[in-house]
């Protein structure tokens, strides 16, 4: 079984895994990182959304072999110590979460978007495909705008 090395939330990790094992299961089942969630396994619900080299990715469909040498950030690595990322803080300020299951993915998606789009419009926000079955969409929209204003 090959070994893959990548940076996970700022720390180098090495893991033995089949080359086609999705990063989601490498993180959850081999490394015990449970922030990214399984919601569909086909990149549709986006509850697993994390960052690969700063870009949002649905890691349930990303083979571990493709992240060798790259920087992987999960929800656990978004804050700087005890200081929340502005998107996390905005999520708290707008009290976005209900069940919370999709929110790691929602937050990582929003954080990635705000890196390149400092002032997202409603049309930009409409392009976010992450599903929230509790229906927190209106508060997500407010939180993204709040985070954008604070960054």
């Amino acid at each position: 079984m090959p070994t893959y090395t990548f940076n996970l939330n700022g720390q180098p990790v090495s893991v033995d895994a089949p080359s086609d094992m999705p990063l989601l299961w490498v993180l959850r089942d081999k490394l015990g990182v449970t922030g990214p969630k399984y919601g569909c396994g086909v990149g549709v619900c986006r509850a697993c959304t994390s960052h690969i080299n700063g870009q949002a990715a649905q890691i349930c469909t990303v083979p571990v072999s493709t992240v060798a040498g790259k920087n992987v950030t999960t929800i656990e690595g978004l804050a700087k110590g005890s200081t929340l990322h502005p998107v996390q803080q905005a999520w708290l300020d707008e009290d976005v979460a209900q069940c919370g299951f999709c929110q790691p993915g929602q937050i990582m998606q929003a954080a990635a978007m705000l890196k390149t789009n400092h002032s997202p419009t409603d049309t930009d926000i409409d392009k976010i495909m992450n599903v929230c079955r509790c229906g927190t969409y209106c508060r997500i929209r407010l939180a993204i705008k709040r985070a954008a204003a604070s960054m």
């Binding site: 089949p18 959850r28 919601g39 619900c45 996390q88 929110q103």
Partner: protein
């Protein structure tokens, strides 16, 4: 079943039950008080004293009252503890699935104890057989049934802490006050609750009133962020499959391509030899594959060769069920005579619960005991079901209730933990079993397909009669704690489903003679209670009908409701959304407003939406909701529930349903099950929480029918059509 007929009652509010509780000290080194809800806690109020004419059953008693009454009769015992390190601990006999019950209960405790909210811990209680149905979550009953016992407990604890401080300081207890998890004196003394708890535990007779306050709330009613918010945004919130249970092995189940198919034979030669595979186990619902990782389990599952039996509904499709549902509809009772009438028929497709967290459970069955980690709304049902699956005594099974990633009614059922118990028993290892999204969509439970026929007669500007006949595939209520509660209360006849229908459906309008009845058409496929259960369909079509009656009589929909609703509290929420939503404003062709109303659970709600139907995918662009829950504990939590209900209304009316094709459900994930996403959610949503007027009613499911109806009514007004079959884009 017989029709329930009544004449229109007079204007009036339902009587408010006063709930009474006994509290007593638990022998413990620190202050621990418990409440036992007395048998008289929910003694039926003489409803007839207020409403002289015959009521529909749901006007007299509803499920929440049955739930509270039953739990009282089964020796309910909740415990609140003040620890020496100044923490207040209330073990929550409910599950948190996003509805915010832990935050609301922590607020009630903090309020009545005068503790800082941050000092209150609200862990979810393990299954406790002695609690029985009192531990069930469902029916929008949690805050409604726990408000009085929890605040009684907290008030009792506060009285004893004050008394302990008074005795320590040798001052009259009546001169002391409480704030910030401490007792304070005029002389400037203060003592934390933690420092007083051992002495408070010795206080037998409090020297200040132990009764809950009735006004002057400093926290209850204040918009408050979730107590678990930080855990969620940092990824620390733990769901069942996130719990680190040593040695628990990922497990998935190969299921029949048809609903209800079972294994005739299988060949696991290839699958069993694949990397990481630990075991292949036949269980009643399929072939379970256990491996070192979920990836390996999923790949091995795909390599299984299984010969499946026929399914239970092979060859049956939506059209077949619709035809039988239509044929099963009972006759109307009121002859039309010389009046005019409005007739309408409606259909709803099957709808999956589709919580974001798929069916999941971790189970460790050992020789003489078992341990379970699961998000369940029926912990004691899980306990007994796992015991049966594992061949153990119920008391040998420990069920740890963990937070759930949504429920919407799905988690009252016990199927994932039972499967996990079967596998763990067979292989002698702890397993973490996960349904895939496909499993959840195609073998998970459905809100049943339903058919509705409605008729209203009118003459000289008055509605003389209103009749609603509904037929549906039976909701599997018996598989839930909800069903057990109804059966125990004697509401099982002729079926639990029809009894539940009669207890939950009541026409809120002065429509003369009202009759409503449910007919069930049985199919062996998995159904379940779906947020607001029958009301999500029955009351939604009733509200669409109200718009059509109003149109026939030449009324504006809002004015019509304000005139024909029965009481002022109901009118108030309609007026609120009409005012805040600028009802009647000029709108472009192809766009329109719509309204809906609902009352249930001792609460009432109205919704106004604006819809844009100028593109191929209609979009609700704005939502305005108002809800009156009697006593709003956390307005933020209520707003979240109302917004979520609006998304359910948007989804089930416009986009989201599940096709039954020849004995199998078609949709497999959120790719084709079109629940609302950001692009189909409103750009703005306001929720107005009405001021407190009494005790808490239910809130979790309250807004679904009002919201769904508002969407359908807006669509009708925007397009000039009469929407009849939902979802419209199916």
């Amino acid at each position: 079943m017989p029709d329930v007929t009544r004449m229109t009652p007079a204007d009036g509010q339902r009587p408010v039950d006063r709930r009474r509780f006994l509290t007593f000290l638990v022998a413990a080194p620190t202050l621990t008080v418990a409440a036992r809800i007395g048998l008289d806690a929910l003694a039926a109020a003489p409803a007839g004293a207020v409403v002289p004419s015959p009521d529909q059953p749901a006007d007299l008693v509803d499920f929440g009252e049955i739930m509270a009454g039953l739990t009282g009769a089964s020796a309910e015992l909740f415990v609140l503890e003040v620890t020496a390190d100044n923490r207040v601990r209330f073990e929550v006999p409910r599950v948190e699935v996003g509805q915010g019950v832990t935050t609301a209960l922590a607020m009630i405790v903090a309020e009545h104890l005068d503790a800082r909210l941050a000092d209150v811990d609200v862990p979810l209680s393990d299954a406790r057989q002695e609690l029985g149905l009192a531990q069930s979550t469902g029916g929008s009953t949690s805050v409604r049934t726990l408000w009085e016992p929890v605040r009684t407990l907290a008030s009792m604890a506060r009285a004893r802490l004050v008394t302990a401080a008074a005795q320590r300081w040798n001052v009259p207890a009546s001169t002391l006050w409480t704030r910030d998890t401490a007792v304070w004196s005029p002389a400037g003394l203060s003592a934390t609750y933690g420092s007083l708890t051992a002495e408070a535990a010795q206080v037998l007779v409090p020297e200040v009133s132990p009764l809950p306050k009735q006004s002057g709330y400093w926290l209850v009613g204040q918009p408050t962020g979730r107590v678990d918010g930080r855990d969620v945004v940092t990824g620390r919130a733990r769901y069942a499959l996130d719990v680190a249970v040593p040695g628990a092995l990922p497990t998935v189940v190969a299921r029949s391509p048809k609903i209800g198919g079972t294994v005739l034979s299988y060949d696991a030669t290839t699958a069993g030899s694949m990397p990481g595979v630990v075991a292949v186990t036949q269980i009643p619902t399929g072939i379970a594959v256990t491996a070192e990782t979920f990836d390996q389990a999923l790949k091995a599952k795909a390599a299984l060769v299984v010969n499946w039996s026929a399914g239970t509904v092979d060859g049956v499709s939506d059209t077949d069920i619709k035809a039988r549902l239509t044929a099963a509809i009972g006759p109307f009772a009121v002859p039309p005579l010389l009046s005019q009438r409005v007739d309408a028929t409606f259909d709803f497709a099957f709808v999956n619960h589709a919580p974001m967290e798929v069916g999941s459970a971790v189970v460790d069955v050992r020789a003489d005991s078992a341990e379970v980690w699961v998000a369940t709304k029926s912990p004691t049902n899980v306990q007994s079901a796992v015991a049966t699956a594992a061949g153990l005594q119920t008391a040998a099974v420990t069920v740890h209730v963990v937070r759930g990633g949504g429920s919407f009614g799905r988690r009252v059922y016990t199927d994932p933990p039972v499967e996990a118990a079967q596998v763990s028993t067979a292989i002698g290892r702890p397993v973490k079993l996960m349904w895939t999204r496909n499993d959840d969509m195609r073998h998970g439970r459905m809100r049943p397909r339903s058919h509705h026929q409605l008729r209203a007669t009118y003459l000289l500007g008055n509605v003389l009669s209103y009749e609603h006949r509904m037929s549906c595939v039976p909701v599997d209520i018996t598989g839930s704690g909800v069903g057990d509660a109804l059966v125990d209360a004697g509401y099982g006849s002729p079926t639990v489903g029809t009894a539940f229908f009669q207890l939950s459906e009541a026409c809120p309008y002065n429509f003369g003679v009202v009759t409503e009845a449910l007919a069930e058409v049985a199919y062996d496929l998995p159904t379940g209670t779906w947020r607001s259960v029958y009301s999500a369909q029955a009351r939604t079509v009733e509200e669409i009908m109200v718009d059509e009656i109003a149109r026939a009589l030449g009324w504006d929909p809002v004015s019509f409701r304000l005139t024909f609703l029965k009481n002022n509290a109901e009118r108030a929420v309609v007026s609120k959304v009409a005012t805040e939503g600028n009802w009647g404003r000029l709108m472009a062709p192809g766009t329109a407003q719509g309204v809906g109303f609902h009352q249930e659970y001792g609460s009432r709600a109205a919704c106004l939406v604006e819809i844009d139907c100028r593109t191929s995918t209609p979009r609700v662009t704005k939502g305005v909701l108002a809800l009156d829950v009697g006593m709003p504990v956390n307005p933020k939590g209520l707003q979240a529930q109302a917004m979520g209900s609006l998304m359910d209304g948007i989804s089930t009316i416009l986009y989201a349903g599940n096709h039954l094709d020849g004995g199998a459900f078609r949709e497999g994930s959120f790719q084709d099950f079109l629940y609302a996403k950001q692009a189909t959610a409103p750009l703005t949503c306001q929720v107005h929480v009405m001021p407190a007027t009494g005790e808490p009613g239910g809130a979790g499911e309250l807004c679904v029918p009002a919201a769904a109806a508002a969407v359908a009514n807006a669509y009708a007004r925007a397009t000039g059509t009469k929407p009849r079959s939902f979802p419209l884009n199916f």
